[in-house]
C-alpha cells in the first residue's frame, strides 16, 4: 500500500492571542514527529503554498475560528473559484483551485477550525482556546493515523 502523503498546515498570528491556534497546533505536531506527516505554518495562506499542497495527497488546514461550534469543526473542503476579499492572503479553497489549475493536481483536503475567543496583541492563547486545542489535537492525531493507513484513491 502506498502511504498517503499528508500536509498539515496551521496558519494565524501567534502575536494575536487565539489567532495563534494554527501555529500552536503545528508546534505540538512537530514535537510528536509523526512519520509521513509534513507540517508548515505561516501568518496566512499565500499563493506559493499551492506548490506544497500539490506535493501532498491529503492536506489538513488548521485555523482559528471566530465563531461556530466548540471546541472545533472538521470539514471536507472543495476547490473554490470564489476569491475572498484579499489576495494578500488566500482561502484554503482558493489554494486547492490554484493547485488544480496550475499544477493539475487534485488533493483531498479538510479544514480543522478550532474555536478561539480573544484576538488582542498577546502571545498567549486563552485558557478556553487551549482546552479546544487539546481536544482538536487528540482528534486529529487519530484522524491522521486513519488517513495515513487508508488506501490512496
Amino acid at each position: 500500500m502506498i502511504q498517503n502523503r499528508i500536509l498539515v498546515y496551521g496558519y494565524g498570528n501567534p502575536g494575536r492571542q487565539d489567532d495563534g491556534l494554527g501555529p500552536a497546533f503545528i508546534e505540538r505536531l512537530d514535537a510528536d514527529e509523526i512519520p509521513g506527516v509534513v507540517t508548515d505554518s505561516n501568518y496566512q495562506l499565500q499563493v506559493e503554498d499551492a506548490l506544497a499542497v500539490s506535493q501532498s495527497d491529503t492536506v489538513i488546514f488548521v485555523d482559528a475560528a471566530v465563531s461556530g461550534d466548540e471546541p472545533f469543526t472538521f470539514t471536507e473542503l472543495e476547490p473554490s473559484n470564489e476569491t475572498g476579499l484579499t489576495t494578500h492572503s488566500i482561502s484554503p479553497g482558493n489554494l486547492l483551485a490554484l493547485c488544480r489549475d496550475i499544477f493539475h493536481k487534485s488533493v483531498r483536503a479538510h479544514v480543522l477550525a478550532i474555536r478561539g475567543y480573544q484576538w488582542e496583541f498577546m502571545d498567549k492563547l486563552t485558557l478556553d482556546a487551549e482546552k479546544n486545542l487539546d481536544l482538536a489535537y487528540r482528534f486529529l492525531k487519530k484522524k491522521i493515523h486513519d488517513i495515513s493507513n487508508s488506501e490512496l484513491h
Partner: protein, 483 residues
C-alpha cells in the same frame, strides 16, 4: 435627492477600508472619501517593553510585510545601542539585512503584480469578478500564474534563510544580525533546480517588465489617463542619488521635479514631516511641514522612488529606468497606473541585488554585531514594498520604551489614495444613476495601484465580509449588499 454610495471594505486589499461617494441631486460627485480603520493601538502597546524586543514585537503588526517592520525597528535599535545610523554595522550584518529586505521586496512586488493587478489588466476592469481574479489568471494564463507562485516562493525562501523562520523572524537584532548565510544556502539560491534559482528569477522579472510595456503599448489611453494628478513624492535615496531600498537620506520632489526636501538625515524626520488628524478617518495624513497641511501631502512607494532617485545602481533595471524616465521627458511621473511599471522595474532591481549579494563573500563571515555608546532615542527608516516606513522610539534608563511613533507606508499614501479615488469618482460616477460592478472596481483599481496594506494581522475564519451600502443625502441606507 443626493445619494451616498459606500463600498466596504475594499476587495483584494488587506484589512478594512470603506469608500464613500456622495452624489448630489444631479448625480454629480459632491464628495469622495477613503476611510480606513487602521490599528493605531500598537504604539501604546509597546510602551514599557524593552527596546531590544522591538524587532520581533513590531513585526506582529502586519502579516503582509513583517520583514519591513522587523528591519525598520532593528535600524532604530541600532541607533540606541550605539551602532550608528545605518553605516555602523559590520559588512556581514548589513548585507544579510539587505538580502532579507530585497527578498521581501521581490516576493511582495511579485505577488502584487501577478495576483492582484494582473487580473484587472488581463481581463479588464469591467470583466465578471468571478473571472477577474487570481483563479481566473491560473485558468487562462497558467504560465503567468506559475511565475507568480515561483517568484513568491523564491523570495519567501530568501526571507526564511536570513530571518531564521517564516513567522516572527529573528534575524535582525539591535546592532546587527544573528546568523550569516551558509555556503549550502547560498548555492541553493544561486544554482537551485529550475526554476528556483536567481538567473531564472531575473529572466522572469525582465519578462514581467516587457509584459507590462507590451500591455501599455496596446492600452495607452487607459494606462496614461487613469487617476492622473499632480503630487509631491518622497523616499529614501542613496547619498549619491541612487535608488536604495534599505538605507539613505530623505528626499522629496514636487510635481515638476524640484527638490523640496534635499537629502536630509532621517533621524530628524519630525522637523520636516507632520501628521494631520481628520475626524472622518482613523488614519493620519502626513505632510511636509515646509509646504503646510494643504499642499504638503506626498506619495510614497515605487512611483515616488523612481521619481526621487537619479539612477538605479544595477544594469538591467537602470536600462528599464532610462526608458521609463524618457516617457515623461525626465519629469516626475504622476500617472497612478504607472505605479505597476515602476513596481516591476523595482522587482527586476531586487532580483539583481539578490544575485549581487549572494556572490559577496561577506555573507559567510562571522562578525555579526556592533555596539557603542547607548542612546535614548532612535529612528529607523526603510523603503518597504509599499513605501517609506518610519519607526521612532525613545527609551528610559531601564531600557523600556517610553514613546513610539510608527508612520507606515499606507499612512504616507493616505492623501494620494484619496486623490485617486476622487479622480476616478469624478470621471466614472458623474452623471450615472446606476452603479455597475465595473464602476465600483474602477475605484478599487485606483486604490490597488498603491497596494495598500491595512492589515490588522488577524484573519481568523469568519472575518472580512464585503458590504456595499447605498445611502441618500441624509445618510439613510437605501440599499445594502454583502459579499
Amino acid at each position: 435627492m443626493g445619494r451616498k454610495i459606500t463600498i466596504e471594505p475594499i476587495t483584494r486589499v488587506e484589512g478594512h477600508g470603506k469608500v464613500t461617494i456622495k452624489l448630489d441631486d444631479n448625480n454629480n460627485v459632491a464628495q469622495s472619501r477613503l476611510h480606513i480603520v487602521e490599528f493605531r493601538g500598537f504604539e501604546r502597546f509597546v510602551q514599557g517593553r524593552p527596546y531590544w524586543e522591538m524587532p520581533v514585537l513590531v513585526e506582529r503588526l502586519c502579516g503582509i510585510c513583517p520583514v519591513s517592520h522587523h528591519l525598520a525597528a532593528a535600524k532604530a535599535s541600532d541607533v540606541i545601542v550605539g551602532a550608528g545610523t545605518g553605516d555602523g554595522l559590520t559588512p556581514t550584518a548589513e548585507k544579510m539585512r539587505r538580502l532579507m529586505h530585497y527578498g521581501q521586496m521581490f516576493q511582495s512586488h511579485s505577488l502584487h503584480f501577478f495576483h492582484l493587478a494582473s487580473p484587472d489588466l488581463l481581463f479588464g476592469i469591467d470583466a465578471d469578478p468571478a473571472i477577474r481574479n487570481v483563479i481566473g489568471v491560473a485558468l487562462e494564463h497558467r504560465d503567468l500564474a506559475v511565475q507568480g507562485v515561483m517568484m513568491r516562493k523564491y523570495g519567501q525562501e530568501i526571507i526564511r534563510a536570513t530571518a531564521g523562520k517564516k513567522i516572527h523572524g529573528t534575524g535582525a537584532i539591535p546592532g546587527g544580525i544573528n546568523k550569516n548565510l551558509s555556503i549550502e544556502e547560498r548555492d541553493e539560491f544561486l544554482k537551485g533546480a529550475d526554476p528556483l534559482n536567481i538567473d531564472k528569477m531575473i529572466e522572469w522579472a525582465q519578462a514581467a517588465v516587457t509584459f507590462f510595456k507590451d500591455y501599455h503599448a496596446k492600452n495607452r489611453e487607459m494606462i496614461d489617463n487613469f487617476a492622473v494628478f499632480p503630487s509631491n513624492h518622497l523616499s529614501l535615496v542613496r547619498k549619491d542619488g541612487g535608488l536604495d531600498l534599505y538605507h539613505g537620506v530623505l528626499r522629496a520632489v514636487n510635481p515638476e521635479g524640484k527638490k523640496i526636501l534635499n537629502d536630509v538625515d532621517y533621524q530628524e524626520y519630525y522637523n520636516y514631516i507632520g501628521e494631520e488628524v481628520k475626524n472622518w478617518s482613523y488614519m493620519k495624513f502626513p505632510y511636509l511641514k515646509s509646504l503646510g497641511k494643504k499642499d504638503g501631502w506626498y506619495t510614497v512607494g515605487p512611483l515616488a522612488r523612481l521619481n526621487t532617485c537619479d539612477f538605479i545602481p544595477t544594469p538591467l533595471a537602470q536600462k528599464e529606468f532610462e526608458q521609463y524616465k524618457a516617457y515623461t521627458n525626465g519629469k516626475p511621473n504622476n500617472m497612478s497606473m504607472h505605479m505597476h511599471w515602476a513596481r516591476l522595474i523595482e522587482t527586476l532591481h531586487s532580483a539583481e541585488m539578490i544575485k549581487s549579494l549572494l556572490l559577496d563573500n561577506d555573507l559567510q563571515k562571522s562578525k555579526l554585531v556592533t555596539t557603542g555608546k547607548k542612546a535614548y532615542e532612535g529612528v529607523g527608516l526603510i523603503e518597504a514594498p509599499r513605501g517609506t516606513l518610519f519607526h521612532h522610539y525613545k527609551i528610559n534608563d531601564q531600557d523600556q520604551i517610553t514613546m513610539a511613533n510608527l508612520i507606515v507606508s499606507t499612512t504616507n499614501n493616505n492623501e494620494p489614495m484619496n486623490q485617486a479615488v476622487a479622480y476616478v469618482a469624478r470621471s466614472v460616477f458623474t452623471g450615472k444613476a446606476e452603479i455597475t460592478e465595473g464602476m465600483m472596481n474602477s475605484v478599487e483599481v485606483a486604490i490597488r495601484a498603491y497596494d495598500p496594506c491595512l492589515s490588522c494581522a488577524t484573519h481568523a475564519l469568519g472575518r472580512m465580509p464585503l458590504e456595499v451600502i447605498l445611502c441618500d443625502a441624509r445618510d439613510n441606507i437605501i440599499d445594502a449588499k454583502r459579499k
